[in-house]
Amino acid sequence: MRKPNKEELIVRKIKDGTVIDHIPAGHALYVLKILGITGREGFRVAIVMNVDSKKLGKKDIVKIEGMELKKEDVDKIALIAPTATINIIKDYLVVSKSKVQVPNRIRGLLTCINPRCITNQPREPVIPEFRTMSLNPLILRCEYCGCTMGHDEIIRQLVKE
């Protein structure tokens, strides 16, 4: 029997779907969680963790067969894994490859950490909004009270740990 090469061992090619590459090592399960993938949906999912990466040292990869991502999903992935790239696969070929981008403004996805913030007052009709202050490390600032939020807190909120 032919010995499978290293590439094949890690990444069996998928026919149609999405490959999320360059996820910071150890963050693949968070990506699945925010996409709402439990494994019981029926489509094939491959998770590769802690493989060598020229850019990141170590990285994770997630492959999902038969699923395309919505804009909101991509925004969430960007907040969890700002280095990620998203490859769309059609008939075994990569038809598009793009880096995720942390939006300049994030509306609604997150809540402010400051309990005294207007966005945390239960009956006021106000949607939390954040501005991206820095990408590495990722820091967001509440547009209402000015409180800043780091990457750990962002992940904690998005995956609802």
């Binding site: 400051n114 005294r116 913030c117 207007i118 966005t119 007052q121 009956r123 006021e124 009709p125 106000v126 202050m133 600032r141 509440c142 547009e143 209402y144 009270c145 000015g146 409180c147 800043t148």
Partner: protein, 308 residues
């Protein structure tokens, strides 16, 4: 430039825009004991969800001296808010009555939210521990009246820099100028919030956090004093231990620069010894007097624009 604008934080404005307020305030000084009719027929609504004496009265006086009228409330217990009305609905109501709304609230970001709801311009008269932009304008104006230029000065801010909105707004305000150095003087427990330090770094302001006033007082051109509240300390013994280091007394002024000016947003408790009042450094009563002309200038520019 100012017509119809909201005033939420001092950082919404450029030095040039502030200069326009200061020049208008110079004019208004002449009228701070008479009555103009520039804003005749205009109504200002005061929405003071948190009590205040100085800020409220000086806004009220400013509007009256410009010929306008004032409505509003200065505590919530007698209003519909006490019955559970939302801030949003209260603002909608005031917006339908008034041409400008001045709001003070204990919730952070309340003024920005009010400005999104109201069609009339909104002035933030203090939101929680965050911003107090009109106070910062008065502070900067006082410096400008005493020195030719704010650029090049060494400025110290003393007291509760973490929760004090006047101190924070003042720090943001001086960050618009090319000051020589900024000393942030406080016990570590009450030091400036990270977002404020990040802002200073981004602006390239030379600043240093220090614990003792004595170590830096000789270098200062401006000393901005604020109150340290006992309640901020989980341990009362800790408060007793540090309070002395943050009090300005005649003794602490022995080695200061000849032209040092001392500011304080008032009211004070015991952080400024009353004997300091008699020194030529004490400028806090002068600063308090500028509350009306600076607010007159703001109201005039927002409601009437540049026209006289």
């Amino acid at each position: 430039m100012w017509y119809n604008r909201d005033v939420i934080t001092i950082l919404d404005f450029s030095r040039e825009e502030l200069e326009e307020v200061f020049e208008t305030a110079d004019d208004m000084l002449k009228y701070s004991h008479s009555r103009l009719d520039i804003l005749k027929g205009k109504v200002m609504a005061l929405a003071f969800f948190e009590p205040s004496t100085r800020t409220r009265l000086s806004f009220e006086t400013a509007m009256i001296r410009l010929g306008g009228d004032v409505i509003g409330f200065s505590e919530v217990s007698t209003t519909s808010i006490a019955k559970g009305e939302t801030l949003a609905d209260t603002i909608r109501m005031l917006d339908s009555y008034a041409d400008i709304i001045v709001i003070r609230h204990s919730i952070e970001g309340a003024a920005k939210f009010a400005a999104e709801i109201a069609e009339s311009p909104v002035i933030n008269a203090g939101d929680g521990t965050r911003h107090h932009p009109t106070q910062a304008m008065i502070d900067l104006y006082t410096i400008r009246r005493n020195f030719e230029d704010i650029d090049g000065l060494t400025i110290g801010v003393l007291g509760d820099l973490k929760y004090g909105r006047a101190a924070t707004s003042f720090i943001y305000g001086v960050s618009l100028y090319n000051i020589k150095k900024l000393y942030l003087i406080s016990p570590p427990l009450l030091s400036t919030r990270k977002e404020v330090r990040d802002h200073l770094k981004l602006r390239g302001i030379a600043f240093e956090e220090v614990e003792r006033l004595d170590d830096v007082i000789e270098e200062l051109d401006v000393l901005y004093v604020t109150r340290i509240q006992r309640e901020r300390f989980p341990d009362p013994a800790e408060y007793e231990k540090v309070r002395g280091s943050y009090r300005v007394t005649p003794e602490s002024l022995k080695k200061v620069k000849r032209d040092l000016i001392i500011l304080h947003p008032l009211p004070r408790v015991d952080e400024l010894h009353h004997e300091v009042d008699r020194t030529k450094h004490a400028k806090y009563f002068e600063q308090a007097r500028y509350g009306v002309p600076v607010r007159m200038a703001l109201l005039k520019l927002i409601l009437a624009g540049d026209r006289v």
